[in-house]
């Protein structure tokens, strides 16, 4: 694979205010509920589902998918290095790479050909700020600071009008949804509820009031109602989905994934969603086969399992992409953890994934092979992976991707052959 890395321009201009599209008339507010149900896609074409999971805090790719076959790995990782053998042995992938033992579901999906792992990957961002790194990952811009919209939203906006995917909008999970879904195209929202839901009459009255006084709130509320309808249609009302744990907790991750899968799997649901799991910033006491990171990886692995179950009906048309803002130092630090780094892993899981392989142009782990003598050197651009997936799933053209979705990335070609 060619080295598709560019230096980012590290440009940080003042944040521009975001302007949501505004729905003017109150009468339009509840019109969605009277919309006829369209056939979702022309016969023969694919009605694809695409879920992006952002791991906030920078996942340590060298622990999630340890290159045990690399002669320098064990020395760099010392106490937290994973082993090929023994009680807590890592799970074999291709002989060189292994998988963390907390991820048996991912190992199974890999074995079935439903999971591919991209290693030594990164965006074009080369500094080490979480928040700028996440902004670049989610905005799809070349540098931080331009955060008025996310690339998933711009991708939907770039699809032909009337397209089922565009009509259904994008689901952003969480009270504060990820930047990657924000923008002009309709954004639906859901999170596991903490309190009982308010009654319909109150919501109707507020819809009327906002329609008269506050177009922005009216628009947001209309999207909330739209999502709630799908939620109820999926039997997710009441106490069943009551929040437990949250996005930084293994149980919470599984629950959030379950809700997202059901909404995305619904006939009238959104085709595209994004969610975020937190807590990956393992500066201290990261742990190896067991411990803090192992617990989180177990949560992610459980999420893969419920994605598969919840999306069973549409699994053959599904891709779940898991990405993080950057990796962590190759060497274990002074506190048995790892500091902010560069290259890491990305996961592609789903029935539509051409899986069963680790995609890596492995840079090696000798001191001179490390990025700035410190981090795993990135050799694959995560944007090439994302472009490859959405090209195959949704038929977007290279120029649209390079101008609208990931502006200024004409030199980063979509990675071919990721999707079956």
């Amino acid at each position: 694979m060619s080295d598709a890395i560019r230096d980012d321009d590290d440009d940080c201009e003042a944040m521009t205010p975001s302007r949501r599209s505004v729905l003017g008339a109150a009468s339009a507010l509840f019109a969605w509920s009277f919309m006829p149900k369209f056939a979702h896609a022309a016969a023969g074409s694919r009605d694809a589902r695409f879920i992006t999971v952002v791991l906030r805090g920078a996942l340590d790719g060298l622990t999630a998918v340890p290159p045990i076959g690399d002669p320098n790995y064990a020395d760099l990782r010392q106490d937290i290095a994973l082993q090929r053998d023994g009680a807590d042995a890592a799970l074999p992938l291709d002989g060189f790479f292994h998988l963390h033992p907390a991820m048996p579901n991912l190992a199974r999906l890999y074995g079935q050909g439903y999971a591919a792992i991209v290693h030594a990957a990164a965006t074009g961002y080369r500094e080490r700020s979480h928040f700028d790194g996440q902004d670049v990952l989610e905005s799809g811009q070349q540098g931080p600071g331009r955060v008025d919209s996310g690339w998933l939203n711009r991708m939907i906006a770039a699809l032909p009008a009337g397209e089922a995917i565009a009509r259904h909008g994008v689901l952003g999970v969480g009270v504060v949804p990820p930047l990657i879904v924000r923008g002009q195209a309709p954004v639906l929202g859901w999170a596991p509820p903490v309190m009982p839901r308010a009654g319909d009459d109150l919501i109707q009255r507020l819809g009327d009031l906002y329609g008269q006084r506050d177009p922005m709130l009216a628009n947001v509320l209309a999207r909330a109602i739209e999502t709630e309808t799908i939620v109820l249609g999926q039997g997710m009302g009441g106490d069943r989905m009551r929040a437990r744990g949250g996005p930084g907790n293994p149980q919470g991750m599984v629950q959030i994934a379950e809700g997202a899968a059901r909404l995305v799997g619904a006939d009238d649901g959104p085709r595209i969603a994004a969610l975020a799991f937190e807590g990956w910033d393992t500066h201290a006491n990261e742990g190896g086969a067991k411990g803090r990171l192992a617990g989180l990886l177990g949560g992610l692995d459980g999420a893969f399992n419920v994605f598969e179950t919840g999306l069973k009906r549409v699994w053959k048309d599904t891709v779940v992409m898991v990405v993080t803002e950057f990796g962590r130092t190759a060497r274990v630090n002074g506190t048995v953890g790892t500091d902010h780094g560069t290259g890491t892993v990305a996961f592609l899981v789903g029935g539509a994934v051409r899986g069963g392989r680790v995609i890596a142009d492995w840079p090696g782990l000798k001191p001179e092979q490390l990025w700035e003598q410190r981090d795993l050197r990135p050799t694959t651009d995560i944007r090439a992976v994302a472009k490859g997936v959405v090209t195959d799933l949704f038929g977007l053209s290279g120029p649209v991707l390079a101008e609208k979705v990931f502006p200024g990335t004409g030199d980063i070609a979509p990675m071919p052959g990721l999707v079956v």
Partner: protein, 473 residues
């Protein structure tokens, strides 16, 4: 006149805490004078009524709690029950025949701190000092999700490191923040060891650069403030040894800040082109003072302040005024805050921002005259996505409107308003009178009509709380 009185009340919501019934008459003339007076008097509420107050008290109580837990874990099984201390007052609001057992120490301290913080927000008439305290507490945030030690210290941290300096000097706040046990634990500095220090050589352990990076990226210069990876590593070396005294008392009173020379990386360390001589803890103090006085810090923090209070894209004239005041007064936050209030750009614009959930909750408590109890407060804040002292990362809760004006964000606010409307309906006065009392000239004809036509008193209160005029500032 009508427009002026409307902007006056809008200003009270933008820079203050929201009206309590009866406040409208007490405001009198220009609300600006109330805020400027707070800045002049350096008036910031102090949460009171707590069993354990300072880092020393809390830290040693927490060590004792940990020791007891450890002993119980290692002891034979019957000791389990001893962890439950009988409740003195049924503060949790349980309805069973007997009061529920008191939670363990960390949850108990957090519960009492949350209630005390909310009580403090009920006192002021205007409340600019309280709003600023909340801004700075989020700028220099810690998160209780890091663990129980931060959970027990979060309230003390805000009282000790933030509130005394809200109308003081930025550099004093910075020094207080970076030397507070809560911050040193939250961002791992108490574990960071100079590789060439006695302990580093002996144990083969080393640096953790977490706190050093966030000091420059988030607390002072800003991410584009002109520092490099080498500066991050260097500052990490400079502040090795900034730690918390352990239970053995070797470094100082258990639980308080201590400088541990045994883990400090010796030598001269460069930072942003300047060399800092070896001087123990003083080396770090001098580096922090220079970061506080750096022009990039004034620009970064002044912009964030304007963004928080006024608009995501604040008028550039306002930002320049704040930066200029900061420069002229060398970071006197009373002067910078007063400049914010005095600016016509900050004062005269329409409400561009939604109240963030914590602001909203406090405004709801004030409007309804509701007693701050931990359970309902924590439940409402968790529902709306802004639990107290629990942001998901060291960058704090987002300050931009887009983060909060979301479908799920609005839906959860409505859920909270519906429940609070039901709970308040019994004691509340006529909702139409309440609307007049807490929004006054801000209330639109449409909102008045919606409240008047509500099908019930609980619904009327929920509509009031969810009206655009109550939600925006």
């Amino acid at each position: 006149m009508a427009r002026d009185s409307r902007l006056n009340i809008l200003g009270l919501q933008r820079f203050g805490l929201g009206l309590r019934p009866g406040d409208l008459a007490a405001i009198g003339g220009d609300a600006r004078d109330l805020f400027l007076d707070e800045a002049k008097r350096r008036s910031v509420p102090v949460p009171i009524g707590l069993d354990l107050v300072g880092q020393a008290q809390i830290g040693s109580a927490f060590y004792a709690f940990q020791d007891k837990e450890k002993a119980e874990r290692e002891a034979p099984r019957p000791a389990m029950q001893a962890a439950m201390i009988p409740a003195p007052g049924g503060m949790n609001g349980g309805e069973g025949a007997s009061a529920p057992p008191e939670p363990p120490l960390p949850q108990r301290i957090y519960r009492d701190e949350v209630a005390a913080r909310m009580r403090a927000g009920l006192e002021p008439l205007a409340g600019f000092g309280e709003r600023l305290a909340q801004f700075w507490s989020n700028h220099f945030c810690v998160s209780v999700s890091q663990g129980n030690f931060v959970r027990v210290l979060a309230g003390a941290y805000e009282r000790e490191a933030i509130r005394p300096h809200v109308f003081g000097r930025f550099e004093d706040m910075l020094l207080a923040v970076e030397s507070h046990p809560a911050m040193l634990i939250y961002l791992d500095n108490q574990q960071s060891i100079g590789p060439n220090s006695p302990a580093g050589k002996r144990r083969g352990r080393g640096l953790n650069e977490n706190l050093a990076r966030e000091i420059m990226e988030l607390h002072t210069l800003g991410v584009s403030g002109g520092y490099s990876q080498a500066d991050v590593t260097s500052l990490a070396r400079i502040i090795t040894g900034w730690t918390i005294a352990g239970r053995d008392g070797r470094l100082g009173f258990p639980g308080v800040f201590a400088f541990n020379a045994g883990v400090h990386e010796p030598g001269v360390h460069p930072l942003l082109g300047k060399d800092y001589e070896e001087a123990g803890a003083e080396q770090g103090r001098l580096a922090l003072l220079d970061l506080a006085r750096h022009p990039a810090t004034a620009r970064h923090v002044a912009l964030k302040l304007a963004r928080h209070f006024v608009a995501d894209d604040p008028p550039s004239a306002l930002v320049s005024q704040l930066v200029e005041t900061w420069r002229r007064t060398e970071g006197d936050l009373a002067a910078v805050s007063a400049a914010l209030i005095q600016s016509n750009e900050a004062w005269g614009t329409e409400a561009a921002k939604l109240r963030q959930p914590q602001e909203l909750l406090l405004a709801m408590l004030r409007a309804l005259g509701r007693k701050p109890e931990f359970g309902p407060i924590a439940g409402a804040l968790a529902t709306m996505g802004q639990p107290l002292w629990q942001p998901s990362g060291p960058n704090g809760f987002p300050g931009n409107n887009d983060a909060w004006a979301t479908p799920e964000g609005i839906k959860t606010r409505i859920d909270v308003a519906a429940v609070w409307g039901r709970q308040a309906a019994g004691a509340a006065s006529d909702p139409r009178a309440l609307l007049e009392a807490v929004l006054g000239p801000l209330a639109s004809a449409e909102t008045k009509q919606a409240v008047a036509r509500a099908e019930s008193k609980p619904q009327a209160i929920a509509l009031l709380l969810m009206s655009p005029e109550f939600q925006r500032r």
